[in-house]
Symmetry: C2
Subunit: 218 residues, 2 copies
DNA sequence: GCGGATTCGATAATTTTTTATCGATAAAAT
DNA sequence: ATTTTATCGATAAAAAATTATCGAATCCGC
């Protein structure tokens, strides 16, 4: 098959760092640099050079060269391929309030392989409008339309109270992965992937680090 | 001092899970339940019971009781105290475009101990307006005002290209922690905390999990 | 071409995080 | 009162992730 390596042995931690490498490499590419060393990446991104080498070798097709490092363009292509940035996955967005609208307007998703094909909202005033070029449909058509569009990814950007219901409808429509921006734990079957965008958790980590820094100073 | 335990020996992973426990516990409290067991929490949140016990014992003042579990109200108070949810930290928001507006309108932050006291934007059309009850000031007053307000936390919600400049200004004004929503790596001194809200990374992890699930099915 | 500097990949050591095991304890049931 | 049962905390084991070490490779300046 040729690419047995692909899905195997790439840790979640590594996957989480790949987008940062990707951005970094694109900067280097734009700056006209042909190669880059793990040492340099590690220094700039505040990581360990061995870790960078390991991460990259897990997904790179070509090995790095002694004294030169890795070929920037090749690495970008490798990450593109590995993360699926080069072929779009369809998704639906549920909830076009403040956050939902922001997400709909974020054109960057296309670069990450995500294509939002429809939006939904329970508020009749929002139904029929267009946000970020995406049409808004009534919430009660969710499951039916998702099924018809054959969409596998759902983005949940509704208020806390509504999130579980939305998740249920998405799953009823055949969605297999849910990106959850609502601050609740969603209850879903085993075979559904959920990724919580937990702002509270991020904030907790940030403020603990802040506390540490302030503490270490006096 | 009495609380030597506080900042010690609580791993970042644990801190990241605390907000989820907090939400869960509040649901239980609202449902009128007085105690809850690590087993139940683990089951509902899809975690390991030993891990839950360890996490909780790292921050709880009272031990859990055999056969009953932990006191819900006490635990909530403990997490509140530990994460600083009970005393507000001031922050400024930079950038009130789509995402910034959404963040400004998110009232939930107050519950997480975050109080946004001012917003900034480079667009003159936005300056002077109010978003989510927060006044928008011109970007060139950033450093000065941050210093005067004595704010330690900055939220960056500007386009990629502007983010580094904003970070520099925030730091010049005395900010010590930056919550970065722009898809770039920020270059900051050692003694500044940065937490990237990396949507691309989340999405990468979600879609890899989706791929695994789909793969394991056929 | 030759020698030095730099980086790589592989392997090993360390650290951190997660999970398993088990005796002790206290509530609930008999 | 005694037994049963669910749960805890402590300790140990396992797994995962990070970091260190080192010989080999190859580019670059001379």
């Amino acid at each position: 098959m040729g690419n047995e390596k692909e899905l195997l042995n790439v840790s979640k931690a590594t996957i989480g760092r790949l987008p940062a490498y990707h951005r970094y490499l694109q900067e280097k590419l734009a700056a006209g640099e042909k190669t880059v060393s793990s040492t340099a990446i590690a220094e700039d991104l505040h990581l360990n050079a061995v870790q960078v080498r390991k991460d990259l070798s897990a997904i790179a097709r070509e090995a790095g060269k002694p004294k030169l490092g890795f070929a920037v363009a090749d690495l970008i292509a490798d990450i593109d391929r590995f993360l699926g940035y080069d072929n779009l996955n369809d998704a639906v967005l549920v909830g076009v309030g403040g956050l939902g609208k922001a997400l709909a307007g974020y054109v960057g998703f296309k670069n990450y392989g995500l294509n939002i094909v429809a939006a939904f909202d329970a508020d009749p005033a929002r139904v029929g409008t267009t946000v970020g070029g995406i049409k808004v449909f009534p919430a009660d058509e969710l499951a039916r339309l998702v099924r018809r569009l054959n969409v596998l990814i759902g983005i949940v950007a509704v208020p806390r109270e509504a999130a579980q219901g939305v998740a249920d409808e998405l799953i009823k429509g055949g969605v297999r992965a849910i990106w959850n921006f609502a601050p609740v734990h969603l209850n879903v079957p085993e075979n559904i992937a959920v990724k919580n965008e937990d702002m509270a958790a991020s904030l907790a980590i940030l403020s603990k680090r802040l506390a540490e820094i302030l503490n270490s100073e006096k």
